[in-house]
Amino acid sequence: MEVFVHSMDKAVVVAPVGDVDLSVARELQGHLKRAIEGKPARLIVNLGKVPYMDSSGVATLVEAMQITRKQATKLVLCDLQDKVRSIFEIARLDRVFTIVSSQEEAVTIQ
């Protein structure tokens, strides 16, 4: 996994590339924490280049959600591939997260 971080005007985009499993979950956690610390209005996690995620990856995102809720940061996930969407559905978290199809939508959705 590699992680690209892109800071925009009012949003930070964190875009991991590659499978997100137990072997890299901590690394993703670090990137998310640093992004959250900057208190952006919006934290966008672009999963377009993540073919696979297990519950370690999901746990990292749940944790990010809990921290962002305590500050004025809106967390949005975008561009999920089918296999990744499937784990959110199985875990019934697809309603808990704000999930949109494209990064453009992630920037504008209220």
Binding site: D19, D21, S23, D54, S55, E63, D82, K83, I90, L93
Partner: protein, 176 residues
């Protein structure tokens, strides 16, 4: 070397009526023995997905079977071996009884030599309690038709699971 040591070197047809949460008397068709290291998860799940595909599962279900195995291995690495990198894990695969090379499903058994815990204590959390973690066992039970944990007589834990192909599941009243 593997705890699911074949009792007979010949390949018998698996009995269709053999319980789907027990270890068959025939040798596993594929066994992966690996160290308890997260970097080997991807290899294990890609193998499971590819074998399931050859057994006739569609791509979506292959991905889910790989996920269930990944979750089980993660739990052994994190809870069983407490992240020690030198624990051994055995992942064994069987086709469920075949008609002319077309299996009716897949059996997966995962063995470790980690600390034993009461099988009843291995359970997923209530999904309404949203917190990081606590999803692995729930996912495994969602994905598989049958799931059973047991203490291995020789030490360590064993997870037995199986999933039938949709046509078979309909016939035998399994989950799709």
């Amino acid at each position: 070397m593997t705890p699911t040591k074949p009792q007979s070197p010949t390949m018998e047809r698996l009995d269709r009526d053999f319980p789907l949460d027990a270890v068959p008397h025939t040798p596993p068709h594929v066994v992966v023995e690996l160290f308890s290291q997260p970097r080997y998860l991807s290899g294990a799940r890609d193998l499971v997905s590819a074998v399931a595909k050859r057994f006739g599962f569609d791509d979506a279900v292959c991905g889910q079977l790989a996920l269930a195995v990944d979750e089980a291995l993660c739990n052994i690495i994190r809870h069983g071996y407490d992240r020690r990198p030198d624990g051994r894990i055995w992942l064994s695969l069987w086709p469920v009884s075949e008609d002319e090379g077309q299996p009716h499903g897949i059996r997966i058994v995962i063995d470790d030599l980690a600390a034993q815990i009461e099988p009843d204590h291995i359970k997923g959390r209530d999904l309404d309690d949203i917190r990081p973690g606590g999803l692995g066992v729930f996912i495994i039970k969602q994905v598989m038709d049958k799931v059973r944990y047991e203490k291995r007589p020789g030490g360590g834990m064993r997870l037995l699971m199986s999933k039938l192909l949709p046509a078979q599941a309909d016939e035998q009243g399994g989950k799709r």
